[in-house]
Subunit: 346 residues, 2 copies
DNA sequence: GGGTGCATCCAAAGCGCTTTGACGATGGAC
DNA sequence: GTCCATCGTCAAAGCGCTTTGGATGCACCC
């Protein structure tokens, strides 16, 4: 069933039928009702390809997921982010076209997408410092929103959380509890978000007159095993940290394992604050938060980013920039610095 | 730069340019070379929308992810499966259009996709028993591949692992080690894969003359906390199981936590076999497997499913059905049934 | 020299939709 | 009774590509 058939059936022209269905005012309400009823009856839905060609808009948004080719790793964060975004797209009639592309092919892939004109806008994931994709897209002139920022002054549209502030705050919280040896199990610091988090920790320490100890700072792909191994190494030090900051709940799981294995109780012997993306399958406790955490739902971020992109497509002059503040939730994994350590320092 | 411009520039007709670029034989090699060179020089790439309209093929595959609307949960398994599929699509020039749709809207969403003609084929995730989507798609007549099967005799294309056999084998392995009280921490049993796994366990027990104890069988969304809570409950029984089967590595993490917390050593005090989808962020150990496991990469399954679908689109008469056998890898989490329990039974 | 066959290329139609520009009908103002 | 808006409708062009059905030129053969 195509437009032509439907028009013939109704004894109307294609023009009128098209207008009726798309809500143009030049058609009488009685005709519109007839057309809409007939369309529903025949389950008519316009062919998107033809529509796209005629309007020049494909009603699709591109997401390009970078995958570390060496590891074949895809971060579970993406699943939730995309689920959030997809929700918004579906509601607005957009499709989401996804491609998973090895790091080194990113740039050429973006170029291809743009010249094929298969999408009306792009969502850029995981920006690196001085990410080449951004000037590329600006040059091409296609609407895009970045999840994260590649620098403090970013002249493009983005959605990000205030990583620096959140980690600074968490750090100060720990220092105020008496902790002075604080470790950080960060994500890969060739990504901006991880750099900001580290900067936040350093600022927090500095603000309280402490200095960051590089020996307590780790950075890697955020797996459970990384959390376990790094925490085990840290806890085996002569002067182990009394508190740890983790860049993800998954890392925190690994830390907890290392702690339990040593008979340490979180919140008493070792304090732990985790960043919590509120991932579907890695909830930080149920009703009660398990870990004290910097919490910001990445699902929600996906939703917001999608909205920002759609807004920008509608009006290319707006460049939405959305900074989400993370919640700071107190769980059972933090407490005052243990006496023994205090003594050791004295 | 469009075809017309390129043709004009070269002093050729659109026909010839189009043929040259698409590898048709009716064009001389010298002309083809000229055209290809010019296309590269101008970074010409055909507009996919126009191409799709002209050819009737949109060069896109649809994936519809079900999301339990109540929980807003998206299974991390999808991320790896889709990454694998996307790899294949990209290589074959297909786009992947993704939608995340609440359970109850699944059917209407499939219907819409088909009538909009925006995709050439569909990949169906997470089949339920007697899943209505399957007859629907058969009626519509669009090529599709199901990840999993909704029944033992399935007259459509699917890619699945031999869940039943794998869990049967794991169960027998445990019984042969002397375990008689064996628990199962399964996924949601309103999905086919979980039913098969349970059936496999029951078969394995029956084959060794044992009966399944419903009190030792759990079923739920596969989170770490579910694993922890269910295992804790089981271990607190008067006659606790000496061995557990887990439907995912994430559940196994939870079980391990419960075990460690009780001072139990996996492989000595409690045996554990997990299903391992080889998810990016939940590796079962690094070089050495941590858990004894039924292993089958879901990334690979995505790749195979995508290949099957593309094959089917090319030749609708083939209905590829691919049954992957899982590896059985021995880790450190299994061992003979502890004496104390053996005594208790005697 | 006229036919045959092949290699190369082209004009134009068509994919299913939107949108421009025009047209007949109606009704109110004068 | 004429004129002019306004309304409701339509025919046709166009989106950028593929593909059908020739057209042209040239070598080859009898």
């Amino acid at each position: 069933m195509k437009l032509k058939d439907l028009a013939a059936q109704l004894g109307l022209s294609q023009t009128t039928v098209s207008r009726a269905l798309n809500g143009y005012p030049e058609v009488s309400e009685v005709t519109r009702a007839r057309v809409v009823a007939a369309a529903k009856r025949h389950d008519y839905r316009p062919n998107v390809r033809a529509k796209a060609l005629a309007t020049g808009r494909s009603m699709a948004i591109g997401h390009v997921l970078p995958v570390s080719n060496s590891h074949e790793m895809v971060n579970p964060v993406f699943a939730d982010f995309i689920a959030g975004a997809s929700e918004t797209y579906t509601r607005s009639g957009y499709d989401l076209v996804l491609s998973v592309v090895p790091d080194e092919e990113q740039e050429s892939h973006y170029r291809t997408m743009a010249s094929k004109q298969s999408v009306d806008g792009l969502l850029v994931h995981s920006p690196r410092p001085d990410d080449p994709r951004i000037p590329l897209l600006q040059k091409i002139g296609i609407p895009f929103v970045v999840h994260g920022r590649d620098s403090e002054v970013a002249d493009y549209s983005w959605v990000d959380i205030n990583n620096r502030r959140a980690f600074r705050r968490a750090t100060e919280f720990l220092v105020d509890l008496g902790h002075t040896r604080i470790g950080l199990l960060n994500g890969r610091e060739d990504y901006e978000f991880a750099r900001r988090r580290r900067a936040g920790v350093e600022e927090g320490l500095a603000a309280r007159g402490l200095r960051a100890d590089p020996a307590l700072m780790y950075s890697d792909e955020m797996t459970e095993q990384y959390g376990y191994r790094a925490a085990s190494a840290l806890l085996a030090l002569d002067a182990p940290p009394t508190a740890l900051l983790a860049s993800s709940t998954i890392i925190a799981f690994g830390i907890r394992r290392a702690a339990i294995e040593r008979g340490l109780v979180l919140g008493r012997d070792l304090s732990l604050i985790s960043h919590d993306d509120v991932l579907s399958y890695f909830r930080n406790g149920d009703e009660e938060p398990l870990f004290t955490a910097i919490r910001s739902s990445v699902w929600e971020a996906g939703r917001r980013a999608a909205e920002a992109l759609i807004r920008q497509i509608a009006d290319p002059d707006t460049l939405p920039q959305i900074l989400l503040e993370a919640d700071f939730v107190i769980g059972t994994s933090t407490g005052p610095a243990p006496k023994t350590n205090a003594k050791r320092k004295a």
